[in-house]
Symmetry: C2
Subunit: 446 residues, 2 copies
């Protein structure tokens, strides 16, 4: 993600700096439980606590409090807890304080909860790589943002909070027509898809591409972005109940990977092979992907979703995925005339490229050429349900988290697409309706 | 190379078909020695003999003879022999007969002579992947070529002959202003460079690139093609005596790899790394190349020139190169956000792509944007000297072979660039002048 200093890390740094910068009158916050049914495991070492160490704190800020999610340990859904932090976070010169309206859930957070995402610091830690909201305060040196700006935010982690403090350079002004949910759904999936397609693979008009998990966040983004070019043939894997939706989104040939050998299906239609394969699966699927490429074709590996099966870490799945990890030598690459690339937004430190690409994506949104598809929204206290939805591959598009408390009697907002196809193998578990539809698991890591 | 049916292979097929198609009155040719000082090793199984098995032979064709080079076994320069073939080759429907004026020498032929180029059939065989000449006869179905057309020809092997028969689809009409030497120098080097730069790496304005062997055939082609884009920074390795020439050709930072650690030099100038590295060397240099890439950078391996040291196969160099062969897994690629590609024109079977690219290259030539640099020309009987020149890295640009016999008293035509730099480590061995200059060994395989 852009920015070396993710909010949570900054806050950790702030805590560490306490000896140098004596604490203000504001006492260290005590996290409180709210709307969280399971007994709270108080984080032993609260890293993201709002302990302002620089800015003087006005008396009224003593009552400033906000909701935040914490990963308290590795394991199942219950390891993510809702807490209330007290005390207004301090702002450094180049930072802004954002009142968060919506957060994106990514596959990285599912991996992180299982202890398999090395970019997430050890618990207790606040996850969250993307959010949207309104700027509420500016650091002294910030001149290109103003209070009231609607922004989307990208970070390495730490954004699943009602209030975040981030460098202004990690915020992007939202187009007027964009909803907060869309803004929270865009950064990770669309940056990933755009960079893979146009920076790495250089997809061109008339080419063919395989998009695994075509109903996932990156899958939908990549499918939409392929429509920028003339005559791109998109093969997309998804369970049968999602085929109608992904076809409408631009997938030329939907393939039900649960009932058919997708490689065989593709070879029937494109015996010469494919120009591009996007592989979020890893393991033996990467070998399949490589063999599906035509000469001069490009394989981009951007995840190892095959590692993840159930709610908790599955050592067998991990071992199998790593055992089958694709390894290649240059002689084989030369004989095949093929390209193999790796992509991981989390490890990409080129802020200029990220900013350029985000600017381009927001243009495309304004032009109506891309539009994030929201699968469902969950309040912070429902984060376990949100994760389950993604884990069990019931989403079509993005799962969104909302910091605002769930009202009494409010039903969980989610809208599984009715399974209208004949294939009954897939069970939709969350049947509540909302405006934007449902979707399959985003297996991508980013 | 384009075309599944290379001439020599066709001729082999013709020979094999003899049982079905009884030989004509034309006797199998007896190869004769001409201008070849060493005793001839008659190929045991003459594959490319002109044994017309289809077209009726007119009486005057009985005296039809032409010069051809043969690889008679694996080893040193003396393994390539000049012979005279008799009898006019027959033409199939879609083929043309070309009177060859100039042939290109490629690194693949140096490898082939050492028994290290698996695409060249076993000796005895006629090497030669590119040539230029004039069409002298047409097969019945050929409508888009006419007798007298000046063409360049691309094939897998078999073109080092005074007369070749090839599918018309493997010939390309030469621009009017192009010399036969230029036409023979263009196909392999420029196709390789163009496809790597624009099909695989997608080089863009403002990027940086490392071109090893920048004074070699592919090196010069790649440097010229980079000039099509604004503001591309080209790092080029070559011995010091060639720096002036390659700088004039467009290399921004020439680096003498013999006296300096090129990776260190590049890091001083571009601490963030490079967007693209073209690697014809293999072995440990590939690892260096990978580490020189910036995130989102692309490495293209297109040879293993480090395998080749002396005139004969050096098992130690081969073992060392293979031992150090670059192998990578997808996890490492993801963490690095990098692309690794392999390119080998010889293994590329996409004729449509080759034809499109060649058409583009000929346009660029006509527009004055590319121009093959001829290092030197050698007559067929001097093929050993030509190979030595490339092997010992004395060429700057392309080494050309001429089928026409060397006249008495004619000196070898070659023009080493005077070693004007202060670096005296490199010895120029061939000091004869000609119009177009000299160059370092083309280490690339294609």
């Amino acid at each position: 993600m852009s920015g070396e200093e993710a909010p949570a890390r900054q806050q950790q740094e702030s805590a560490e700096e306490k000896t140098e910068n004596p604490p203000t009158e504001e006492p260290p916050s005590e996290a409180a439980q709210e709307g969280e049914p399971s007994p709270a495991e108080e984080p032993a070492d609260e890293p993201a606590a709002a302990t302002p160490d620089r800015a003087p704190v006005a008396p009224d800020e003593e009552v400033f409090s906000y909701r935040a999610l914490f990963l308290t340990g590795y394991g199942g859904y219950d390891k993510v807890k809702l807490q209330v932090k007290k005390g207004k976070p301090s702002l450094k010169n180049a930072e802004v304080l954002v009142r968060v309206k919506a957060c994106g859930l990514n596959f990285a957070e599912l991996l992180g909860r299982q202890g398999m995402y090395e970019l997430l610091p050890s618990p207790p830690v606040t996850p969250g790589m993307e959010c949207s909201g309104v700027i509420e305060a500016l650091g002294e040196e910030v001149t290109d943002r103003k209070v009231g700006d609607r922004v989307l935010v990208l970070s390495r982690h730490g954004l699943w909070q009602e209030v975040v403090v981030v460098p202004a350079s990690q915020t992007f002004i939202m187009p007027e027509s964009m909803s907060f949910e869309e803004a929270a759904a865009l950064p990770v999936n669309y940056l990933t898809a755009y960079m893979m397609l146009f920076e790495m693979a250089n997809v061109r008009a008339g080419q063919s591409i395989l998009i695994h998990m075509a109903a996932g966040g990156v899958g939908i983004a990549a499918t939409q972005l392929c429509q920028l070019l003339e005559d791109v043939t998109v093969f997309g894997t998804a369970s049968a109940s999602k085929h109608e939706t992904i076809s409408q989104g631009g997938v030329t040939h939907p393939i039900d990977y649960r009932t058919r050998d997708y490689a065989e299906e593709i070879r029937k239609i494109s015996p010469k092979g494919l120009d591009v394969v996007l592989d979020p699966l890893g393991g033996s699927d990467t070998q399949k992907a490589f063999s599906l490429l035509k000469p001069m074709g490009t394989l981009i590996v951007f995840g190892a979703a095959n590692c993840v099966t159930g709610q908790k870490k599955n050592l067998l799945a991990v071992a199998k995925t790593w055992y089958n990890q694709f390894t290649i030598n240059t002689l084989r690459l030369m004989h095949a005339n093929k390209a193999v690339c790796g992509f991981h937004l989390g490890y990409l430190s080129d802020e200029e490229l990220i900013t350029q690409t985000m600017t381009r994506l927001l243009e495309l949104y304004t032009q109506g050429k891309i539009k994030p598809r929201i699968d469902s929204t969950y309040h912070f206290e429902q984060v376990g349900d949100a994760m389950r939805r993604m884990h069990e591959r019931n989403n079509i598009g993005k799962v969104i988290l909302l910091p605002e408390p769930k009202k009494e009697e409010e039903k969980p907002e989610s809208n599984p697409e009715p399974a209208e196809t004949e294939d009954k193998k897939e069970e939709e578990k969350d049947e509540n309706k909302m405006e934007t539809g449902t979707e399959e698991v985003k297996r991508e890591e980013n």
